[in-house]
C-alpha cells in the first residue's frame, strides 16, 4: 500500500541554523509533492509544491528538493527562527488531474532561541 514516512521524532534546532526535514515514500509515483505547515489545533497551511521534473524549488528561506529515484523529498528552512516551530507535513499528488492527495503524519520542528 502507499506509504509516506516522515521523521516521527521531533527535530530540535538552534535558532539561526538550517533545519532539514525528510519525506520518504513507497508504492507511489507522485507527479507533485507538497509541503504544509500545521500549528497545534489549526488546519495545515500550504507552503510549496514541486513537480517530478523539478529537482529543487525555493521560496524565501524555504528550499525543497525532490528525488524520484530515491523516492525522497528534503525540506530545508535556512536561518531558522522560533516562529518556524510547527509540524511540517509532506503530501503526494499523483497528477494534475488527481485532486486527492495523501498526507504524511508530519515532523514536529522546534527552534530554540
Amino acid at each position: 500500500s502507499q506509504k509516506i514516512e516522515q521523521n516521527s521524532e521531533a527535530l530540535n534546532i538552534q535558532e539561526g541554523k538550517t533545519a532539514t526535514l525528510t519525506c520518504n515514500y513507497t508504492n507511489y509515483s507522485p507527479a507533485y509533492l507538497q509541503w504544509y505547515r500545521q500549528d497545534p489545533g489549526r488546519g495545515p497551511v500550504f507552503l510549496l509544491l514541486i513537480r517530478e521534473n523539478e529537482k529543487e524549488k525555493r521560496k524565501e528561506r524555504l528550499k525543497v528538493t525532490f528525488d524520484t529515484t530515491l523516492k525522497q523529498s528534503l525540506f530545508h528552512i535556512t536561518a531558522s527562527q522560533p516562529a518556524d516551530s510547527a509540524t511540517y507535513l509532506c503530501a503526494l499528488q499523483r497528477d494534475s488531474s488527481a485532486s486527492k492527495i495523501i498526507f504524511g503524519s508530519g515532523t514536529r520542528l522546534s527552534i530554540r532561541p
Partner: protein, 115 residues
C-alpha cells in the same frame, strides 16, 4: 486571511445526537474535502466533492454524510454521534486547471468530543 470557514470551532455533544459541521469557502473553488485527524496522526480523507451535486466517500470509512448543493458550502453530518467519532475534522478546498497547483486551503477545523 482564511477564506474557508468552519463552525463550530469546538463541540462537545452527547452520544446519539445528530450534528452538522459547517464548512464554507469564498474562493469559488470547485473541489472540497473533509479530513479527519487525530493528535499526532496523518490526515485521513473521509469525503470529497468535485462540484455541485457531486460527493464521494474517501479512503477512510466514515459514518458521516455530506452534501454539496452550493459551490461554497460543504456540510458534514453525523446522524448519531458516538465516542469513536471524537476527533478533529478539517475541511479543505482546491482549485482546478492551472491554479490546481497551489495546494489545498484548509479551515481551522472543528474539534469534536462525543461523551
Amino acid at each position: 486571511e482564511a477564506d474557508i470557514y468552519q463552525t463550530p470551532r469546538y463541540l462537545v455533544i452527547g452520544t446519539g445526537k445528530k450534528i452538522t459541521l459547517e464548512c464554507s469557502q469564498t474562493m469559488g473553488h470547485d473541489k472540497m474535502y473533509w479530513y479527519q485527524q487525530d493528535p499526532g496522526m496523518e490526515l485521513h480523507l473521509i469525503h470529497y466533492s468535485y462540484g455541485v451535486n457531486s460527493t464521494e466517500k474517501g479512503d477512510l470509512s466514515s459514518e458521516s454524510t455530506v452534501s454539496r448543493i452550493r459551490t461554497e458550502h460543504f456540510p458534514l453530518t453525523l446522524e448519531s454521534a458516538r465516542p469513536s467519532h471524537t476527533s478533529q475534522y478539517l475541511c479543505a478546498s482546491s482549485d482546478s486547471g492551472q491554479r490546481a497547483n497551489y495546494g489545498y486551503t484548509f479551515g481551522s477545523g472543528t474539534r469534536l468530543t462525543v461523551v
